[in-house]
Symmetry: C2
Subunit: 203 residues, 2 copies
Amino acid sequence: MGLRETKMERTRQLIADKAFELFTAQGFATTTMEQIAAAAEVGPRTLYRYYATKESLLLTFVEQKLDAALDVLRAQPEDVPLPEALYKLVDYVLRTVAESGDRIIAVYELAWRTPSARAQLSDKTSHWRRELATEISRRMGGRSAELAAALASANTMTVIEVSIHNWVSSGGRANMRRLTHRALDLLREGAVPVPTPRARSAT
Amino acid sequence: MGLRETKMERTRQLIADKAFELFTAQGFATTTMEQIAAAAEVGPRTLYRYYATKESLLLTFVEQKLDAALDVLRAQPEDVPLPEALYKLVDYVLRTVAESGDRIIAVYELAWRTPSARAQLSDKTSHWRRELATEISRRMGGRSAELAAALASANTMTVIEVSIHNWVSSGGRANMRRLTHRALDLLREGAVPVPTPRARSAT
């Protein structure tokens, strides 16, 4: 990264930090772009160059964290067993929730109230799920890898979504790590019902 | 349903039928709302009362089929084992694909090209997944039902999505039913990797 990029990245981060401070302190709806610019000590034009809308401040945060989680998986050596490598990704998410709980709650509140933001978030997570599936498939190799990888990716995403959802619903008081481990246990123990035709032999 | 509602429903269906004929014959992008109105023999104002946009014609179709699939599950007697009841839902989707393949391919092509439609579709399927989870949870009952239900719902959705995706990629030539059954088998056989910490005892 060149000096100019480093400086831009720092400004981008500073704006996000200040914005989230304001969202947490006074709510997302009542915070204006002008207040964010003032808090970050940049002009409104600079602010708009980094973030076209208030919503994009929240969505960028989610995107960064999701990308970083994928990078954690990609950085695992090839000889690490896949379930273990996948757990490193989950663990990164758990640590992010522990560190940035306020931001995650802010994102959820936005998604709850704003259909357009919800749709964008939905789209982003679908995209992420496909990228995760690609990396899992690559690591699995073999014949039915693509199908199994898509299912593994969806499971991982669901465990994360369900745990975060329950955690946010508890106002951040539930034990996120315990929730996640319970979900993973259910999957591993085959305690999750799978659609099954009555006469399996007839399929 | 009263007479007026029946008539409106019939018009709505007729418009959708004619629109899909045009989409299939000449492509989605080149079909205009005026052409759809003319083919359905309604005025443009009537058309817009039923469907505000061309996109909504495709999205409404998906929504109707997803809702109908949920209704199939809800209609299963309470004593039907859950995996079997869930399979009835999957089977409904398989029959829909067999009957309305052209429409499904049209929806996919739209989603591929149009981010706003893709986001709406993403949002709809997320919503459907949550509704499916609610029904599964109700049928399961018990302590960890909510978590297991969310995972079962996500698996079911993924099996459907992955099968349809592969089927569309094959230009509608792959055996959709076989793809779906292979995915369900993988889940049932525990062939789908689950994130697992290295030292399970330490969790």
